[in-house]
């Protein structure tokens, strides 16, 4: 429906029609139409998707108890499909800003996107869901959006501003961005991310401007004097929104069914709160903040599958879908890929599932598979017995099993407090020296008793007092008087208990068939980036490298060309490489499918 409303030709016509930017004296609009294309530069597909599952068409030995009858297990080959494009979308944005009085103004932004990937990559993505999420009615991911599987229109900005002297209040749907670091989210704790469009692989220099998910709320600040300002907000809870199942940048293996709704319904009417004080003392910029929030990224655990067709009631599994896990090998590979423990038996031993799994005979089967422990509520396995147990279930009915299985998990959004501070200073030095006008920044956040997803998807979450801090150095340096200064930024982020995506470090170093051994000493990341504009700023050359100290990097070179007031072309590449031991120990492994070249063609009005 939306696609019909906002067809490409309609967008183009609309853009061409909008030749002036004044609606009335006190109102203005601006906008743009943009074609966004990303072409994959690797053979690696997104293994979270059915179509790139490496087990498709593979015939593996059956380790289960029914192997005499069904000696091999095979994932259907016809699920496979390749894609060249990761992204093919048309976007239109309209900004409307108006002055209502000397103290009131109104601001709106409408963003419409048509995802044409299903038309361009018919085999891989035809009919796939990119945008629909079940948080709000009609499968909307956020309250101020209209969504279909392949298109969405939302209001990233819809608010009223009140400004009277030192008081500023903002009412409505809005983003709130805090923090000193770019890309590293240390103090940027207010809003989650909407990852449905280009995940976090857009232009690095644009940070999260397109993905920070807005929320209904009130933000206010009061400037106490020239040096100090206090700020506070309250916003309705809005979770981080993930790409749809089997869509190009899908993050969750599609053998899982994720219950996004139940956990969200528990907190959908909750509100986050926060405050910040900012000041300047002796040339140092200081900020301190506190946020009481429901973690928008959430945590995951097994959940009963009862609500889904094919449910094995009381368990965490659904059978007969044809798109589940087909073998123990697949189970182990995907557990490791998801930084989970493939040998975990919480889905059998924890209270919600004991009765059902016992009724299914799991303890008895464990015994037959020579599991080290097969007591009811305390089934313990080793690699061989787990392979046996899993394959016993994955064996088709003819061999006594149930066939492929999908696992059901849910996302919860724990309540937590985040405290932090930051400091910045512009250093002075001899003209043209390294220290001259070097900006140094430091920020730190502390979250006591932060909850993380357990390696076993247990009902009990991992808890840590999480500390995250970042050092940032920024510098404009002129190498030549003929060119504008080159902008450099170097950042180091340390996270005490989680990786850059918020996954507990206990989940790292996950190898198929083994317990994740985890990482100690925290996770560290380093970014080095530069921008070099041409003398007239018509061209801008960017390069950035995000390095994971545990072996991996994301490099993004690119160029922006703005030949005139209306047109702009961006051409960038995402180069991801996980090096060293491939043990799921860094943020890159598993994302190699995003090795791509992407281009954006913009017409602004």
């Amino acid at each position: 429906m939306i696609k019909k409303i906002l067809g490409i030709s309609t967008l183009a016509t609309l853009g061409a029609t909008l030749s002036g930017n004044s609606l009335a004296d006190n109102w203005r609009y601006t906008g743009m139409i943009r074609q966004e294309i990303a072409v994959r530069t690797t053979d690696d597909g997104n293994i979270n998707n059915q179509q790139a599952n490496p087990f498709n068409g593979q015939t593996l030995a059956n380790n289960g108890l029914g192997k005499a009858v069904v000696p091999t297990l095979t994932r259907p080959a016809n699920l496979s499909a390749d894609n060249d494009f990761n992204q093919f979308a048309t976007r239109i944005e309209l900004n409307l800003d108006g002055k209502l009085s000397e103290t009131w103004s109104a601001h709106f932004k409408v963003r419409g996107i048509i995802d044409e990937i299903g038309d361009v990559e018919k085999n891989a993505f035809k009919g796939r869901n990119t945008y629909e999420q079940p948080f709000f009615s009609s499968n909307r991911g956020a309250p101020f959006e209209i969504t279909s599987k392949s298109s969405m229109v939302d209001l990233p900005k819809a608010y009223l501003d009140y400004n009277n002297g030192p008081l500023w209040l903002r009412f409505g749907n809005q983003q709130i961005a805090w923090g000193e670091a770019l890309f590293f989210r240390v103090s940027d704790t207010v809003n989650g991310l909407d990852l449905r469009r280009h995940l976090t692989f857009g232009v690095g220099a644009e940070e999260y401007s397109d993905s920070r998910v807005p929320s209904l709320g009130i933000r206010g600040s009061y400037r106490a004097n020239e040096n100090w300002e206090i700020e506070a907000f309250t916003q309705r809870f809005q979770p981080t929104i993930l790409p749809g199942e089997n869509s190009p940048y899908n993050l969750v293996p599609s053998q899982f069914i994720v219950d996004e709704k139940t956990g969200f319904d528990d907190v959908k009417n909750k509100w986050n709160f926060g405050g910040r004080i900012s000041g300047n003392v002796g040339g140092y910029g200081l900020k301190a903040f506190a946020v009481r929030r429901y973690n928008p990224d959430g945590v995951y655990k097994w959940t009963p599958s009862n609500a889904y067709p094919g449910s094995i009631n009381g368990t965490t599994f659904v059978m007969g879908t044809g798109v589940g896990v087909y073998s123990a090998a697949e189970w182990m590979r995907y557990a490791a890929h998801s930084r989970l423990n493939g040998l975990a038996t919480t889905q059998v031993n924890e209270a919600p599932f004991i009765a059902a799994t016992t009724a299914l005979g799991v303890p008895g089967l464990a015994k037959l598979c020579n599991a080290p422990s097969y007591a009811v509520g305390n089934v313990q396995v080793d690699t061989a017995s787990m392979n046996c147990l899993l394959d016993t279930f994955f064996t088709p009915a003819a061999g006594g099993g149930v066939g492929d299985l999908r696992g059901t998990i849910r996302r919860d959004f724990p309540h937590e407090s985040v405290l932090g501070f930051s400091i910045n200073r512009v250093f002075e030095g001899e003209p043209d020296s390294l220290m001259d006008q070097l900006i140094g920044r430091f920020e730190l956040s502390y979250t006591p008793n932060k909850k993380f997803t357990e390696t076993s998807l247990s009902q009990t979450y991992i808890e840590h007092n999480e500390t995250v801090f970042a050092f940032i150095f920024e510098k404009y340096h002129k190498f030549s008087s003929d060119f504008p200064a080159t902008y450099f930024v170097a950042q180091w982020m340390h996270r005490s208990h989680s990786d850059i995506f918020g996954r507990a470090l206990e989940r790292m170093n996950a190898v198929p068939g083994y317990y994740p051994t985890g990482q100690t000493g925290g996770a560290d990341y380093f970014v080095l980036a530069f921008q070099q504009p041409s003398p007239t700023l018509e061209w801008r050359f960017d390069a950035s490298v995000l390095t994971d100290f545990h072996g991996g990097y994301l490099m993004q070179p690119g160029v922006r060309w703005k030949p005139n007031k209306a047109y702009q072309v961006d051409l960038y590449a995402n180069i991801l490489k996980s090096y060293g031991a491939q043990t799921n120990r860094n943020f890159v492994q598993g994302l190699e499918n995003a090795n791509e070249v992407f281009a954006r063609f913009t017409y602004a009005f």
Binding site: W27, N95, A177, S221, E226, Q437, T536, K565
Partner: protein
């Protein structure tokens, strides 16, 4: 008989040279222009007739109302800087002549003129090189050196009060033209300034309590086009002119205000622009971050110190001419300014600046910058700037600033001689979004000159 002058042109030239050699920089050949103005309300008696009238100066060849074109520019070649002469001869620039303005109150805001007269002789440099009162306090208003004795005093006086008002908000439109004279980029911007010292109108005055360590707050923000919508920068100028201003910026990509380094002042803020922060008011940097100030010339000059306001357009927008699209130059009215002081300066604290030297033409009476030429590091002419100013009262329309008609700048040309690219800027009544011109409005500070204002305007 009309041309039997009491003081001929060679008298003027000789006296300018002689006064400069003696270090006598005050405006006026026959007497002090400020004294003449204080006594008679006109600077006319401070100059011989030939410097008060273009008709007298050209011996009747040109008069007010005439248009200078390539056909007659030779007559006034010695009243033009070399770039404007080239623009007229080779690029089709035209200048319309107006009578010489001799009322100082029409060359600067009356409150600034009054404060200048009131505070005459009360300014000195302190040990750090900053302008202070005889009691060692920050400057108290008006021009501290109306009768300067050095090139540094000329620059110092102007740098302390760019726009001559206590606070200003200028809605502006910018047009950036490519080498072929075609508009390549176009912007709608707002520029705000507020003085914290030397205040003549706004209470509290002369200082904003607690802010005596600063000279001004200044911001610039963009409302169009779409990709620049919300981009905003705030400069906070320390009173100590040895320090770089603090710079804060809001970039839509970051959605928050961040602190920026401020020494890169020789780069465009937006694609296509030939105007840098350093170029603002020909004195965009703290005056002690430049050095080697010296006076290189004095004499009459043709400049746009009146008639720059276009009241006939509802948004005060100006007409253009020149080039294949008639879009390179603003239609400009110029008059014979009897005396300018031409000052050279070098960016001593900016070793990598593309500018090796700048030359600024100041109206000797008001120390208002009329034009500027910057030179690259090889000594070649790099860019040229000229502005137009006006009392916003042309008999058909009037814009008030308190008790008096508004005085301000109207248009600016920034022309890159080496690339042939032009940036034109005009002050308009309003830019989209309801941002209208304001002057000496205490609300300018909260609306445009705080960090929360940057965040609010940015979105």
């Amino acid at each position: 008989m009309a041309y039997l002058l009491q003081f001929d042109r060679s008298y003027s030239r000789r006296t300018f040279l002689s006064n400069t050699a003696k270090g006598l920089l005050r405006a006026g050949l026959l007497c002090s222009a400020w004294s003449a103005f204080a006594r008679t309300g006109s600077t006319g008696t401070a100059y011989p007739d030939e410097l008060n009238s273009i008709e007298e100066y050209t011996r009747g060849k040109l008069k007010a109302g005439d248009v200078i074109t390539r056909d007659n520019a030779e007559v006034v070649k010695d009243l033009l800087d070399p770039v404007r002469y080239k623009q007229i001869m080779e690029m089709g620039r035209r200048l319309t002549l107006a009578p010489t303005t001799t009322d100082m109150n029409k060359l600067n805001p009356p409150e600034y003129i009054e404060a200048t007269l009131r505070n005459r002789g009360k300014a000195v440099f302190d040990a750090k090189g900053n302008v202070v009162t005889l009691e060692g306090k920050p400057w108290i208003g008006g021009s501290p050196f109306p009768e300067p004795k050095s090139a540094l005093e000329v620059f110092a006086a102007h740098t302390l009060s760019w726009g001559r008002h206590d606070s200003s908000f200028y809605p502006a439109k910018e047009y950036d033209l490519d080498e072929a004279g075609k508009i390549q980029y176009q912007y709608a911007t707002g520029w705000a300034e507020m003085a914290t010292i030397g205040r003549n109108v706004l209470e509290p005055k002369p200082y904003l309590p607690g802010q005596e360590d600063k000279v001004r707050y200044q911001s610039v923000f963009f409302v169009e086009p779409n990709d620049m919508n919300g981009v905003a920068y705030l400069n906070i100028w320390a009173y100590d002119q040895n320090q770089f201003p603090e710079l804060f910026g809001y970039l839509p990509a970051y959605k928050r205000v961040r602190r920026f380094p401020t020494n890169q002042r020789f780069e465009p803020l937006n694609p296509g622009s030939e105007l840098y922060l350093s170029d603002a008011w020909a004195a965009g940097d703290p005056f002690l971050t430049w050095g080697n100030y010296k006076i290189v010339q004095r004499g009459p000059y043709l400049a746009a110190v009146s008639g720059g306001w276009n009241s006939t357009h509802p948004n005060w927008e100006h007409k253009t001419h020149g080039g294949p699209n008639a879009a390179i130059f603003w239609d400009t009215t110029v008059e014979l300014v009897p005396e300018v002081i031409v000052v050279d300066a070098e960016p001593t604290l900016y070793p990598r600046a593309p500018v090796g030297r700048k030359r600024v033409w100041f109206d000797a009476r008001t120390l208002l910058p009329l034009a500027m030429v910057s030179y690259d590091r090889r000594g070649q002419i790099f860019r040229h700037f000229d502005g137009s100013f006006s009392v916003y009262d042309d008999g058909r329309g009037r814009v008030m600033d308190g008790k008096h008609p508004y005085w301000s700048w109207s248009t600016v040309h920034a022309y890159n001689v080496q690339t042939n690219r032009m940036t034109r800027i005009e002050q308009v009544r309003e830019i989209p979004g309801g941002y209208t011109m304001r002057v000496n409005d205490p609300g300018i500070y909260e609306k445009y000159l705080t960090l929360s204002a940057l965040q609010r305007m940015g979105g």
